[in-house]
């Protein structure tokens, strides 16, 4: 095969959904053995583009070439035969199958001997692929028993397994693969990508510019459905990409360090020696009014559990949580709410918003009782509407109206509603679990600005996150957890932010 022929090429791809143009004359070329980063805001057309390449969406116009040969559009089977494999954001693994069965799902035909599956051959091939990728997962393990990050790695291994079966070099589409991975798992993934460089061509879709700089050799920015520039990574800078993605210059200080508070009010949260068997081992944490305390740790370090315990979603076995001097009943959401604790959960669609309900119903839920007419049990629909509209305006939630079902909003706007539902109620302590998950840079920046504003107004904030730059940039102080224990407390004043490595040292 000629290395000059691109592994994959899109020419003039346009996709219209009724009056909406999702993609407009996209030309994109992926070099053989290249790793191309594809960046863009939510709604820029990344997912549509991926779907066009893997055949699940037929474009209105345009052509797709793989290895110089034209591939018929809108046919997932043809795309798979041409070696195109997709690793989706939402996991496509079947929980009750074993790992090797998932990896070779739909490809069993090649292993059948007189109609009986050659499970040994399947297991061997799966083990071999996992081994080559440096993924320490047992191919015989039941997929549902693996951690989220491990399942994601299996899904990626599944794409690589394709390359062993078809006599074509795989083109692998990774759709936001790192958004739910811990840093250690992200490193494993990146190492695998580097190792497979000579054997596959890869498109990596990501919100994180750091991903692009870590493994890609070229990067393309998508904005409003059109390619807004392509650069060799060696020539791209974060500011350049930021501008190409959002169409404006990145404001100085993404994390608004200049707005970081130096002095704080009274102690709001005082957690002492919290114990949750197997997850937290005598963890203490205190946060003052106006202070942002970051909690960092790898998957399984207990950081999520700590957030649940403070927010009242999970009962601690031992230890006390005081908010403004009042002891909370362990595991009582009602008690946490009575102490004015708000929570922004990591899994927004399961724990943060009710997708089928309107923006208004979601936003007013925690403060519903305040809309009663005095002591009457009847709610004022006029005041609910006013308050909702007010918060939509204040947080610049982009929605056609307050009556729209919230599942129609983009992730960033839905997340703003999660914030607004607590702000409308009034809170003193905010427990945030990965508040930037799945949000594009523009939406993140707005959320960060909001956190600064809340801190200024005296809200105490516990920030749990997998995103180290975010934790370092936003926090006044960082607490690292390792195997359920506090391993370090690191000061992070605006003028002297710790390096990522200084934090990671205490996490692993």
């Amino acid at each position: 095969m000629n290395t000059m022929v691109p592994a994959l090429e899109l020419r003039g791809v346009t996709k219209q959904y009724g009056p909406v143009t999702a993609l407009y004359r996209v030309n994109l070329s992926l070099e053989r053995h290249g790793v191309l980063g594809l960046v863009g805001e939510n709604g820029a057309g990344k997912s549509t583009l991926i779907s066009v390449i893997n055949g699940t969406v037929r474009p209105t116009e345009g052509d797709l070439f793989v290895g110089g040969a034209r591939v018929s559009l809108g046919s997932p089977a043809d795309a798979a035969r041409a070696g195109i494999a997709t690793v989706f954001q939402e996991q496509g693994l079947i929980a009750n199958l074993r790992v090797f069965e998932n990896m070779l799902l739909g490809r069993e035909a090649g292993f059948a001997k007189v109609g009986i599956l050659g499970k040994q051959a399947m297991t061997r091939l799966a083990a071999d692929v996992l081994d080559e990728l440096g993924i320490t997962v047992d191919p015989l393990a039941v997929t549902g028993s693996l951690a989220f990050g491990e399942r994601q790695l299996v899904e990626i291994a599944k794409a690589f397994a394709l390359g062993r079966i078809y006599p074509v070099e795989p083109v692998i589409l990774l759709d936001e693969p790192t958004s739910a991975l811990s840093d250690a798992e992200t490193q494993i993934l990146f190492n695998s990508i580097r190792r497979w460089r000579g054997k596959a061509s890869i498109i990596l879709v990501s919100h994180r510019l750091s991903d692009v700089f870590a493994v890609c050799d070229r990067v393309a920015a998508l904005k409003d459905g059109a390619i807004n520039g392509t650069w060799p990574v060696s020539e791209a800078t974060p500011d350049l990409l930021h501008e190409a993605i959002v169409g404006r210059v990145r404001s100085a200080g993404y994390y608004k360090e200049s707005e970081q508070r130096q002095d704080f009010g009274n102690v709001v949260l005082e957690a002492r020696d919290l114990v949750v068997p197997g997850q937290l081992d005598k963890v203490s944490l205190s946060v003052r009014a106006g202070e942002i305390v970051g909690v960092a740790g790898v998957l399984g370090s207990g950081k999520t559990t700590l957030g649940h315990a403070i927010a009242g979603a999970l009962a601690v076995k031992a230890g006390d949580i005081f908010v403004n001097g009042k002891r909370l009943r362990p595991g009582s959401l009602a008690s946490a709410l009575a102490a004015d604790i708000g929570n922004v959960p990591a899994e927004r669609n399961i724990a943060g918003v009710i997708g089928m309900h309107s923006v208004e119903w979601n936003l007013t839920l925690p403060s519903l009782r305040s809309f009663r007419f005095g002591r009457w049990p009847i709610l004022s629909s006029r005041r609910q509407g006013q308050v909702t509209d007010d918060w939509i305006k204040r947080l610049r939630v982009r929605t056609p109206g307050r009556a729209i079902q919230i599942r129609n909003l983009s992730g960033g706007n839905a997340q703003k509603v999660v914030f607004a539902k607590w702000l409308a109620r009034g809170i003193k302590l905010f427990v945030l679990d990965d508040p930037g998950r799945g949000l594009d840079v523009g939406a993140k920046e707005e959320i960060y600005a909001l956190l600064r504003k809340l801190a200024r107004e005296g809200v105490a904030i516990v920030l749990i996150s997998d995103n180290l730059p975010e934790i370092i940039g936003l926090s006044n102080r960082i607490v690292t957890l390792r195997s359920g224990r506090v391993s370090a407390e690191i000061a992070a004043p605006a003028h002297d932010k710790p390096a990522e490595t200084a934090v990671v040292t205490h996490m692993v």
Binding site: V20, V246, S251, A313, A334, P345, A351, I354, I378, G442
Partner: protein
């Protein structure tokens, strides 16, 4: 600090969208109109005022039962004991009215339903058994109890003050029982959308974890939903007993499936969170019109069952919004 992010304009609203958006509410209406036209062509008596009042009289109790079921289905649970509560409350009212008078009979009937609802709800939240099984068990228990009390026969009573009341026409031509059922429907529709109780029930059905995280006392409100269901069924039982003039051990037997069909046809999803009492009124109308229409057009009762089944399947197939279901199971 001002930030501006370019954003594609939201798509303009097309004329078809309003209809598409309200299709779930419009379909049952269309079914009702189509059935009414069909039956009127077959027998003009169908469309007379007298017959319309007949339909109302026949479906008032079903409406109350379906409203009861709606309050529970709204939270994503199900109450299979509705019909058996109707039976029990009817018997309780029949047993008490002669000794204690009509007011006490009404209170006893509703109270019995409320108590059963409380037991259902408490069992659900303490033993964490799915509502389907809790209420299935309750259905069996109550049927047994009803038969034990009655010993196989009906319970008659002398005091006809309630019977006179439900059939009285304070508004000329319209029997009280219809007014009671419609008032209950209007009240519940108001409660569902304009009170903390209603909104909490919707929130629990829409996303229990979100509701809990937002400070909704989920368990307490689940119990309330079952108590509300029990009380409404109790009222339905009392009215039915008054209407027929006797408490019978099989009074509510056919109501469970009819009420669930009416609820789903109306547009309240079995998975909870959407729909509500106002939708259920339309679903009940479809069933009531169908039964009455086939009676007046002299369709045999066996054929009636077959046709009713077909219409229910077709109506639900055309009304449910499949995008709202992750799985059809």
């Amino acid at each position: 600090m001002e930030t501006r992010v370019s954003q594609p304009n939201p798509a303009p609203i097309r004329p078809g969208q309003w209809i598409a958006k309200h299709a779930v509410s419009l379909y049952p209406l269309l079914v009702i109109l189509a059935l009414a036209a069909l039956f009127t062509l077959q027998n003009p008596y169908f469309a007379t005022f007298d017959n319309v009042m007949n339909i109302g009289r026949q479906s008032s109790v079903l409406l109350l039962v379906a409203l009861a079921g709606t309050m529970v289905i709204m939270i994503g649970s199900i109450d299979l004991s509705v019909g058996s509560i109707v039976t029990l409350s009817g018997i309780v009212a029949a047993l008490t009215i002669d000794a204690a008078g009509p007011v006490a009979a009404v209170a006893a009937g509703i109270g019995a339903g409320l108590l059963v609802g409380l037991v259902n709800g408490m069992t659900l939240i303490t033993l964490k058994v799915p509502s389907f099984l809790v209420t299935l068990g309750m259905l069996s228990i109550l049927s047994g109890v009803a038969n034990m009390i009655c010993g196989g026969s009906s319970i008659m009573f002398m005091d006809l003050s309630l019977t006179d009341l439900v059939n009285a026409e304070y508004i000329p031509g319209i029997p009280t029982i219809i007014l009671v059922a419609l008032a209950a429907a209007a009240l519940l529709a108001f409660v569902a959308f304009n009170t903390v109780l209603g909104r909490y029930l919707f929130a629990i059905g829409g996303g229990e974890v979100v509701a809990a995280n937002s400070g909704v006392p989920v368990n307490r409100y689940k119990v309330y939903a079952f108590m509300l269901s029990g009380a409404l069924c109790g009222l339905a039982g009392v009215l039915l007993t008054a209407q027929v003039g006797a408490g019978t051990p099989a009074a509510g037997a056919n109501m469970l499936l009819d009420s669930i069909a009416a609820i789903v046809m109306g547009g309240t999803a079995l998975s909870g969170g959407i729909g509500g009492p106002q939708r259920t009124i339309l679903g009940v109308l479809v069933i009531a019109i169908l039964s009455n229409g086939m009676d007046v057009t002299e369709v045999s009762s066996f054929t009636q069952e077959v046709i009713k089944g077909l219409v229910i399947i077709l109506a639900v197939a055309s009304t449910i919004d499949r995008k709202k279901y992750a799985f059809i199971k």
